[in-house]
Symmetry: C2
C-alpha cells in the first residue's frame, strides 16, 4: 500500500497520500468553489479567484473530505460543505491581509496590495455569506451551528491577537488562546463536519474535532517558528513578517521570558515601540537561537501533533487514518 | 387613536408611532444585542457597544418587529431575529467605515477612527457570525436562507459601488442596482422575516418584502440627496462626504446627464481624478441646483415611497399598518 510504504520508508512526510485519497472529491469541491464565487459584479470572481483559485493547499476542505471518508460516509453533502469551509478560510485570509498590511502570502501579491483594502474586505464578506448559503442549501442546522460558532471564535481570536500585539508581557497562555481560536478552531470544525454528515455518534465527532484542534495548534506553532527561520526563505516566503508587525508569537514569548534586562529593552523597542533598524531582525534571530526558542516551539508543536494522532486511535485503521496521521507529520516536519 | 390623529393633523411624520407600538419588544431586542456582543475579549463589547448601543434609530429591527405584529405573530422568535438583523447592519457599517475613511457617522467618531481599520473589520466579522448564531438558535432554515442571501447581495452591492465610484459615466440604472443591493436588500429581508415567523403564506411574505425593498430604495435616495443639502448640517452631519469620496450618487448622475462640456470637465476633475479645491463643493451644489437634481432625486424617492405604501394595502388596516405607512413618510420627508 502506497501510504504504508511511504511511512515505513521514512520518506519525507507529505500531503500526497491525503490528496490522492480525496482527489476526486476535491475536484468537485473546486467546481463548487468556482461556481459559487461567480457574480455579475466582475471584480468579485476576479479578486476571489486570485486568492481562492491561485493556490493554497486546500488543507481544510481536504480534512472535511477525509474525515467524512474515515467515518464511512458515502453521500455527496461533504463536497459543498468542504467548499463552505474553504470560503470561510479565504474570507479570513482576505480580512487578515487588510489588517496586517502583509505583502506576501503564499509568495504572491496579496489581494489587498493589488486591489486595496476596500475590495478585500467586501469580497471577504461576499465569500463568507456564500459559505452560509452553501450550508443553508445543505440544510443541516448542526453544521450551521458548528461553522457559525467557529467563525465567531475565529474573529474573537483575531481581535485578541490584535490586543496582544506589541505587548511584550503577553504570556504563553494568552498566545495559545489566540492560535487556538484564530487557526485551530477552523481545523477542528472542518474535521467535525465529517462524522456529523456521516451521522456518527457524538464521541466520534468529538474525537475528530480533537484531532483537528490539536493539528491546527501544531500547524500554527510551526508557522510562527518558520517566520524566524531560514526554512521560510526556502519556501519562497519572506522572513520576519511577524517581527515587523510586532506580533508576539511563542518564540518571542519564550525568548523574552529567559532574556536579561538589556534584551527586554531590545524587545520593547522593536516590538512595543516598533522602532526597528535594518539589523534588528538578525539580532532577534540570534536571541531566539541563544535561548533555544525555535526548538522549544517545535517541541510544543510535536506534543500537540502527538495529541492529534492519539485522537485518531479509535478510528478504523487503514489508508485514510494513515493519511491523516501523515498530515500531522507533514505539518510538524515542514519546520525542518 | 394617536397614529390616526397624527396623520390627520399633518404633524411632521416621525418614527414615534412605530417606536411606541414595538417599544416593549425593542427593549428585549436591545437586551439580546447587549448580551450577544459580550466576549472575554474586552475590545469586542467595547467597540461593538460604541456603534451598537451608542445610537441609530434601530429602524431595521423595528421593521422586523412591526412586520411580525402586522401578521398577527404572538411568539418570541421575532425578538432574537430582529437582533440578528441589527447585527448584520452593524457589521456592514463597521466594514463600510473601514473602506470609506468617513469620519462621521451619526455625528460621532467612527469606530474606525477611534480603534483603527483592523479592529473594525474583525469586530464586524464577530457580529456577523453572532447574527448567524442567533439564527441557528432560532432554528429556521428559511430565515437563514433569507439573511444569508441578503448578506451576499449586500456585499455584491458594496463592491459594485466601489467599481462605479469615480466613474462619471455611471448610469441611473447602475446607481439603482447599487442602492437596491447595499441598502434596500436588508430592509426587504428584515420585513420578510415578520410574515415568515408568523407562518403566513408566500404572497404576504412577498408583499412585506416589497414594502421593505421600496422603502429602502427611497431611504437611500433621500440619504444621497441630503449629502448635498443644507438639511444635512442641521441634522448634525457633515455635508459633501460623498462628493469628497467621489461617489456617483443619483443627484450627480442627473446633473452630469444635463451638463455641458465645461460641467463634465468639472465633474471629471473633482470625482474621477479626485482633484478638489475648497470651493468645489459649493460649485457642485450650485450645479445640482441649476439642474434641479436634488428635487428630481426626491421625486424618485416619493415614487418608491408610494410603491412601498401600495405593498401594504393587502394587510389589515389599523395602528401597525398606519405606523408602517408613516415610516415611509418619515424616510421621504426628512429630506425637507
Amino acid at each position: 500500500m502506497a501510504v504504508a510504504a511511504a511511512l515505513e520508508s521514512k520518506e519525507k512526510p507529505s500531503l500526497e497520500p491525503l490528496a490522492r485519497l480525496v482527489g476526486e472529491d476535491l475536484v468537485r469541491v473546486n467546481h463548487h468553489i468556482v461556481a459559487n464565487m461567480q457574480s455579475p459584479v466582475a471584480l468579485i470572481p476576479q479578486l476571489a479567484g486570485h486568492i481562492v483559485a491561485a493556490g493554497g493547499k486546500r488543507l481544510r476542505p481536504m480534512l472535511t473530505l477525509a474525515a467524512a471518508q474515515l467515518c464511512g460516509y458515502r453521500g455527496e453533502r461533504h463536497v459543498a460543505l468542504a467548499a463552505a469551509v474553504e470560503f470561510i478560510h479565504t474570507a479570513t485570509l482576505l480580512h487578515d491581509d487588510v489588517v496586517d498590511e502583509s505583502d506576501l502570502r503564499r509568495g504572491i501579491k496579496t489581494a489587498n496590495a493589488l486591489w486595496g483594502n476596500k475590495a478585500s474586505v467586501l469580497v471577504g464578506d461576499f465569500l463568507f455569506s456564500r459559505a452560509f448559503q452553501l450550508m443553508v442549501a445543505d440544510g443541516s442546522l448542526e453544521v450551521l451551528r458548528i461553522l457559525s460558532h467557529a467563525s465567531a471564535v475565529i474573529a474573537e481570536g483575531e481581535v485578541l491577537q490584535l490586543v496582544t500585539s506589541n505587548d511584550i508581557s503577553t504570556t504563553e497562555e494568552a498566545y495559545l488562546a489566540v492560535i487556538r481560536a484564530k487557526t485551530a478552531q477552523l481545523f477542528a470544525a472542518a474535521c467535525r463536519i465529517g462524522p456529523v454528515v456521516a451521522g456518527r455518534p457524538a464521541a466520534e465527532a468529538d474525537a475528530m474535532e480533537a484531532y483537528g484542534l490539536n493539528l491546527g495548534i501544531a500547524f500554527q506553532l510551526v508557522d510562527d517558528m518558520l517566520d524566524y527561520s531560514a526554512r521560510q526563505a526556502e519556501l519562497g516566503k519572506t522572513v520576519g513578517d511577524d517581527f515587523r508587525d510586532g506580533k508576539i508569537t511563542l518564540p518571542i514569548v519564550l525568548a523574552i521570558r529567559q532574556g536579561d534586562d538589556e534584551e527586554r529593552a531590545f524587545w520593547r523597542r522593536t516590538l512595543e515601540e516598533q522602532e526597528q533598524t535594518q539589523a534588528d531582525l538578525a539580532r532577534a534571530q540570534s536571541l531566539l537561537r541563544r535561548h533555544g526558542a525555535l526548538e522549544a516551539t517545535m517541541e510544543r508543536a510535536r506534543t500537540y501533533g502527538a495529541e492529534a494522532r492519539r485522537a485518531l486511535s479509535g478510528f478504523p485503521p487503514g489508508p485514510v487514518r494513515e493519511a491523516l496521521d501523515m498530515v500531522v507529520a507533514f505539518c510538524v516536519e515542514r519546520g525542518f
